[in-house]
Symmetry: C2
Subunit: 161 residues, 2 copies
């Protein structure tokens, strides 16, 4: 498979999973986008979930100008500082959906990032809440339901609390 084939597969899996997750989640609960990047998946989530509160966490926003969230929904800073404050503000179990597409080309650093983020995300998910992520997380109170979503193994990950 070429790198062009690979990116098409990855983005298609991402879109299909976000579509599935937005149909699947409860009508109550916040939506969190961890990493704004170029804003593509945020744009997708807000179109699929009109009127829903979507909070976006980003260290240094640099998305397309059309894809910048309103000020009160864009949380700028180091996620290991902003996410605990967010949990204090809204409470554990306040999120229906967390989408995490973060990290770099450094696989080892990405694994460590996911390890450190895991307990923070886990405590934010409501019962039945979903984490959709581009890498594996370690969430003891959640089930890995990736295989039920029809996405190719190892390409994207889904956990349900």
């Amino acid at each position: 498979m070429t790198r062009l084939d690979s990116v098409i597969r990855r983005l298609t899996a991402q879109r299909d999973l976000l579509d599935w997750a937005t149909r699947e989640i409860s009508a109550q609960g916040l939506v969190l986008e961890l990493g704004l990047g170029n804003g593509r998946t945020y744009d997708h989530l807000r179109e699929r979930l009109p009127g829903r509160e979507i909070y976006v966490f980003e260290r240094s926003p640099a998305a397309h100008p059309d894809c910048i969230p309103p000020d009160e929904y864009l949380i700028v800073g180091d996620i290991f500082e902003t996410l605990p404050l967010f949990t204090e503000r809204f409470g554990a179990g306040s999120a229906a959906l967390v989408h995490a597409d973060i990290g770099t080309g450094d696989a080892q650093a990405n694994r460590e990032l996911a390890q450190r983020l895991s307990p923070l995300i886990e405590s934010l998910l409501q019962p039945g809440g979903l984490l959709v992520a581009d890498r594996a997380f370690d969430l003891p109170s959640c089930a890995d339901i990736s295989a039920q979503t029809g996405v190719s193994e190892g390409r994207y990950f889904v956990y349900r609390r």
Copy 2:
């Protein structure tokens, strides 16, 4: 359509067109990739055209390390300097396929770039040679055959000399 949908469509159109073009071109003639970028389309072309000479033009190479062409096929510099020298070296009509995916987010600058590049590309194409591009070019001796390739109008462009 969301930005995520849009990029999937654009990359899929790009791949489908490159696949079509690599089946369509003559067995003789050089292949030129204008703009290396992250190296995805170069990776695609070299896999689809094993053993073929593919010359890549790039101002400042920054592709994935797996997608850097061999030194003798990577032509670094301002394309308005390197492309005329290339034509002097290999001769007019030496290219079977030119793929151009260059430019920036600035639409006006992109139009000017395409205008200036048009005569350079036109003289390099052999009779029957193809230009596949992410924007419109102005090639009086070529036919715009974009509509024959099945790709959505305005998304990608194909010209045959």
